[in-house]
Amino acid sequence: MDFELSEEQQLLKDMVARFMQDRYGFETRGKYMKEPLGFDPAIWEAYAEQGLLALPFAEEDGGIGGGGVEVMIVMEQMGRALALEPWMSTAVIGASILRNGATDAQRQALAEEIIGGACKLAFAHSEGPARYDLAHVATKAETSGEGYSLTGDKTLVLWGGAADKLIVSARVSGGVRDEEGVALFLVDPSASGVSLQVYDTQDGLKAAEVKLEGVQGELLGDAPGKGMAVIRQAADEAIAALCAEAVGAMEKALELTVDYIKQREQFGRAIGSFQGLQFQASDMFVELELAKSMAMYASMCARDPDPVERSRACSAAKAQVGRSLKALGERSIQLHGGVGMTMEYSIGHYFKRLSIIDRMFGDVDHHLQKLDEAGGLAA
């Protein structure tokens, strides 16, 4: 039992924190958002130079061999900065799928491109009626010649418009919500039959609706139909990463709030001297610490070889973080007062990102229900 960062992990944390500090002010972020891709490509190149894109890949694939804790460290800093780039879809979800659901040759080839900064990934999985059910896959994959032809509609594909390659889930057999029969494919977004409708999200990112009409896809791995286990593993890693991102954003939101109520004066004194506000700030701190503890828990369990334990831990973490981010986020606006309602002040942007994280990969109710079905948590 050890919750301390190793020396290398502390260095990684310092390095990413410094990078974000140098390159990611609130105003510069606003400029990055106006770029065509929704972020600054130079930042992505810098990630490559800093080794952040090599982080999740094994050393034999040219990577650094980082695990769940390293992902947590990076995501926390991205949360603090409200980073805009597709790091999670590439280096967390994408890397997880390549690690568990690709052939050696596919993984090595893609890892090299990703590490060099030449390949950004997006995960085209969700479909309209699925809500949070990961097994809901209606998109069809039919064999065509050497490869597969994919047809279906994918929704809420984060960074879909910026991706160099899409990872698409599709059914080779079975009914819409069957656990068996799902496969994963690599799709070139410029291939014929792909149409993308790119749009802004509430929290300043970009996502896409992806329509596939007889699109050529390259099967990932060599066991079509066994994709759900790979998807569930990737989703749990995404949950752990999102929890860490939320913790970073919450930490920053609390700092901004405490700074604000120390400075803002009303009735002739700093409003932070009023106990009514102090207690709310204290409660925000409590929520932050509980969320932090669970983000650590999830990051240590995200690659647990036992899928039942892994998903229990990630569900518990997502539920707690969901509760905490709401309690902390809403109060952070309240304590800022009117200023918290304005676009030009940063706190609202943290609140918005937090609120959307709550709705990604299952919300509080979804994960509580999952835990209930699994017989709970205790002991």
Binding site: D2, Q278, V286, M300, L371, D372, A378
Partner: protein
């Protein structure tokens, strides 16, 4: 970072668990499990069993009769006690006065008191709170005036837990009423409860039980040999105590045991054709509590890991969350038990021990409402939740 305990720590947990299973008297276990409280005799019997094994003071260094455990072993030991319905070591002896004596007491005091604390030959109670000094403890007024080899003590303490069981008290008394700050001029003294002029009056609490008392001092002559450390430095010693309680204060093991019991009892509670466990709204409340308890457990482990690595000299910021959230979860559990027992929360226990009156409803039901009433105390004692929030605001957030 690593979640798993080491193989040695796991083996230690197993050893503790089997020791409890083999040595905890069945009746004591049952009473703790049902939340009925233990008698003085049960408590002392258990303390003697632990002391014989050398385990009655988990945090004490070996030179004073403790087991010399690492912080992680201490945590595992306390968690196992809590989870297996065993009473924890008598807290006033072991967590409160003992560490003050071996840290600030003289050699004679160490030799005299420490062994008698370990096996509960001396049962200490704590004389801190007064009618006018609760959360604002430093306002205490009970005064001790030096008269030769004695202090003459006059005043009143209150909320004195188990004063009726105690044969000794450690108390904060005002020895210098003219000190420039109220925190100064306070001394830490110990004395036997059978000194002339001490009167104990029980306070019945809303659960119907008697855990706390008022204690009155009327010209009580306390030998000066009962002064611990230096005169007028008592506040520092009391503060030292408060910082000493970061392992086990969240009571994670006890709440885990409660949740297990909640589920068992709910499964035995008929609702229509099935049981209360078939009600998704009830189960959702249980799962929510489990999630929060897991978050608390992970927070406790973070603090523990920090103590293990850095010696815990500077408290980890997250440690201030432990009491606040731990006490809320304990209360949630007692309220979930109210949900379980439902309308059978109503009847009061019909008779005392050995009564022939049949109990109304399930035989565990009569302890549920008193347990819920009684546990309102946990967010009040030991630094109320409001005091905890104030500490976070000032010490951590700098407000």
């Amino acid at each position: 970072m690593e979640l798993e305990f080491t193989a040695e720590e796991k083996a230690f947990r197993k050893e503790v668990r089997s020791f409890i299973q083999e040595n905890l008297p069945a009746e004591t276990r049952q009473r703790v499990k049902e939340g009925r409280g233990t008698s003085r005799e049960m408590m002392v019997e258990w303390m003697k069993i632990l002391a014989a094994k050398g385990w009655s003071a988990p945090r004490w260094p070996a030179e004073y009769g403790g087991p010399g455990w690492t912080p992680i072993q201490q945590y595992i030991f306390l968690e196992e006690l809590q989870f297996n319905h065993a009473p924890e070591p008598q807290g006033f002896n072991i967590s409160m006065v003992g560490p003050v004596i071996y840290t600030f007491g003289n050699e004679e005091q160490k030799k005299h008191f420490l062994p008698k604390l370990l096996d509960c030959e001396y049962w200490f109670c704590q004389g801190f709170s007064e009618p006018g000094a609760g959360s604002d403890l430093a306002s205490l007024k009970t005064k001790a005036v030096r008269d030769g080899d004695h202090y003459i003590v006059n005043g009143q303490k209150t909320w004195t837990t188990f004063a009726q069981h105690a044969n000794w008290m450690f108390a904060l008394v005002r020895t210098d009423p003219d000190a420039p700050k109220k925190q100064m001029g306070i001394s830490y003294i110990v004395f036997p409860m059978d000194l002339p002029g001490i009167t104990v009056r029980p306070i019945q609490t809303i659960d119907g039980g008697v855990e706390v008392n008022e204690v009155f001092f009327d010209d009580v002559r306390v030998p000066v040999s009962g002064l611990i450390g230096e005169e007028n430095k008592g506040w520092d010693y009391a503060k030292f105590l408060l910082g000493n309680e970061r392992i086990g204060i969240a009571r994670v093991g006890a709440s885990k045991a409660k949740i297990q019991r909640i589920k068992e009892l709910a499964a035995s509670m008929p609702v229509g054709e099935g049981s209360l466990m078939d009600d998704p709204r009830f189960r959702q409340k249980v799962v929510e509590t489990e999630v929060k308890l897991k978050a608390l457990e992970m927070t406790q482990l973070r603090v523990l890991s920090d103590i293990a690595v850095r010696g815990g000299k500077k408290p980890h910021p997250a440690s201030s969350v432990l009491k606040l959230v731990g006490s809320e979860i304990q209360q949630t559990c007692t309220h979930l038990l109210m949900d379980v027992v439902g309308p059978y929360a109503m009847p009061k226990s019909t008779g005392g021990e050995g009564s022939n009156e049949p109990s109304v409803g399930p035989d565990w039901a009569d302890a549920i409402a008193p347990g819920y009433f009684n546990y309102r105390k946990v967010t009040i004692y030991g630094g109320s939740s409001e005091v905890q929030r104030g500490i976070i605001a000032k010490a951590i957030l700098g407000l």
